[in-house]
């Protein structure tokens, strides 16, 4: 587990961050540019020194101002994937990959070249020079280089930010595989809601050098007090589901989540596969009675537990489905007309075609969709 609580003054910027990240999965530091996310992972790596606080990794002290401990960067064993990849231009891809590995004693090498090269799809690139690689390839090599240094934690500073949409789509599945197939905690810095929703297991919301909220993506995605920090106009509940059945005749797939079931267009996934879905608030319709003779497949029964502040003509409504939550964006007019209030039992209607964001769940293997 990573346990961090640090303070640092950089000019007029004041960083005061504390959170814990589990030993497994991706912890995403999410927030706008300039909120201090990168400063946090630079402190974990040791590239910048906090004024006060502590950084513990699996119980080992990396930094502790009270005990005057500050382990030098090169002894910390943190894998760092920089936004600009920073491959060594005078070395081949292979030598880049082996740079960290060669500096680890033989007996401590668990992660080997071959599986990493395979996992990241970089074995055809080994003899090339960094300047001949595409942006996406470069980033994959950088990830491999960091992994082969046998890190105790993998830090990624917006590794996708400098890539175009196509390159991003190319590299995302590889990061998902890292998350699912390696036993290394990953701290991922991002300002993209899509990336975070897709990759994160734990979310740390950062703003103005402070932690605003910590939790799972599902938890934070339905928090109304974060005024759209995740997703903004595309805000919506994230549900971690599993595939329960397929109906090839009606071409539908059923997904179960904690609190209900969803029907989506037929997916080519095995039964039992975890699947993360995002249901945008604006795709959810609320009804006080179950409507009959309606084309919508998904009708989820629940109870309103929170009403958000009115933003313009619309308001977000949080619905408890009995274990999971859903957000619905309705007009202020509808709230008044239907008398929606905390405690009102409602039926949430979700068009199955609204499942436009379906991602492999954190515990699952990569699936091409």
């Amino acid at each position: 587990m990573l346990d961090i609580a640090i303070k640092r003054r950089q000019g007029s910027f004041d960083l005061d961050i504390a959170f814990q990240a589990p030993s497994q999965g991706v912890t995403a530091l999410f927030g706008p540019s300039g909120s201090g996310k990168s400063s946090v992972i630079n402190a974990i790596a040791g590239l910048s020194r906090p004024d006060a606080g502590h950084i513990l990794l699996d119980g080992a002290v990396l930094f502790d101002s009270a005990r005057r401990v500050d382990v030098p960067v090169e002894k910390r064993r943190v894998g760092y994937v920089f936004q600009d990849s920073r491959l060594f231009p005078h070395m081949s891809v292979l030598d880049n990959l082996l740079y960290g590995l060669r500096r680890v004693p033989q007996g401590e090498r668990r992660i080997e070249l071959e599986p990493v090269a395979k996992l990241l799809g970089i074995d055809p690139l080994l003899k090339r020079r960094p300047h001949t690689l595409s942006g996406g390839e470069r980033q994959r090599v950088a990830v491999g280089r960091a992994l082969l240094a046998q890190p105790r934690i993998l830090l990624m500073d917006e590794p996708l930010a400098s890539l175009d949409a196509a390159r991003k789509a190319e590299i995302l599945p590889y990061i998902e595989r890292l998350r699912d197939e390696l036993n290394i905690p990953i701290v991922f810095v991002s300002h993209s809601a899509d990336e975070v929703v897709r990759l994160a297991t734990t979310l740390v919301l950062v703003a103005d050098g402070r932690v605003r909220a910590t939790g799972t993506v599902a938890e934070l995605s339905v928090r109304l007090d974060l005024d759209g920090a995740i997703g903004g106009p595309e805000a919506g509940a994230v549900l971690d589901t599993t595939v329960v059945s397929h109906d090839p005749d009606s071409r539908l797939t059923a997904l179960r989540f904690n609190g209900g079931e969803l029907t989506v267009p037929l997916l080519s996934l095995g039964i039992g596969q975890p699947l993360r879905v995002r249901i945008q608030a604006r795709d959810v319709i609320l009804a006080l009675e179950p409507p009959s003779r309606i084309s919508v497949h998904n009708m989820l029964e629940g109870r309103i537990i929170e009403l958000g502040e009115a933003t313009g003509p619309s308001r977000d409504v949080k619905i408890d489905l009995g274990g999971s939550f859903l957000l619905a964006r309705v007009t202020q007019h509808s709230v008044e007309r239907l008398g929606l209030a905390v405690g009102t039992p409602v039926f949430a209607l979700v068009k199955s075609v609204a499942f436009d964001r379906v991602f492999p769940g954190p515990a699952g293997k990569h699936i091409a969709l």
Binding site: L47, P72, V73, E74, R76, F88, P89, H90, M91, H131
Partner: protein, 229 residues
Amino acid sequence: MLTPLEIEAVSLSLWVASWSTLTVLPLAIVAALILARAEFWGKSLFDGIIHLPLVLPPVVIGYLLLITLGTRGVIGSWLLETFGIRLIFTSAGASVAAGVMSFPLMVRAIRLAIEAIDGGLEAAARTLGAGPIDRFLTITLPLTLPGILSGAVMAFAASLGEFGATITFVSNIPGETRTLPLAIYTATQTPDGDLEAARLVALSFTLSLSALILSEWLGRRVRRMMGRP
């Protein structure tokens, strides 16, 4: 084709320039590293002193060498007594004069190369477990190589042409300190030496131009080796 006298002058020049370049190179790398990376009180003074040979009249440098490295100078007498090394009036002394004069050129080229290195690469090497010396040898030094090479060739070419400090410090002794420029000077001072002077000038011209072309070619090769097209 070449007279024995010309061969002597050319080979002496090459010898002096090679030695001065090779001995000065490690010092220049250290000085360039200090100027590019270190922050300390008096850095501009240090920078100024290193660059002095570029702006001072060469004869002044020659004079300073004479009073410090001469047999009665502080360093010169110590060298003579301890190691039996005499610099004054010797080709070794000519190398020293050429080295001092070309030092700032070399430092400048290497310093620029060091400053051009993306510091992020060294930070990346740190996260991959490389300590300071390791980083210097595997990242900084190889990436500075193009600058070191071009600096060395520049210094070599400049050493081939060093005149003022050399003649002041080690005089103009045939076969010992009479390098190409000094031979040209001697020829111009000799009656009927015009043809000889012209031949030596042509030689000097060829030599310097070859050095520059070689430097350009080497630079390109090394840059390609370093992965920069």
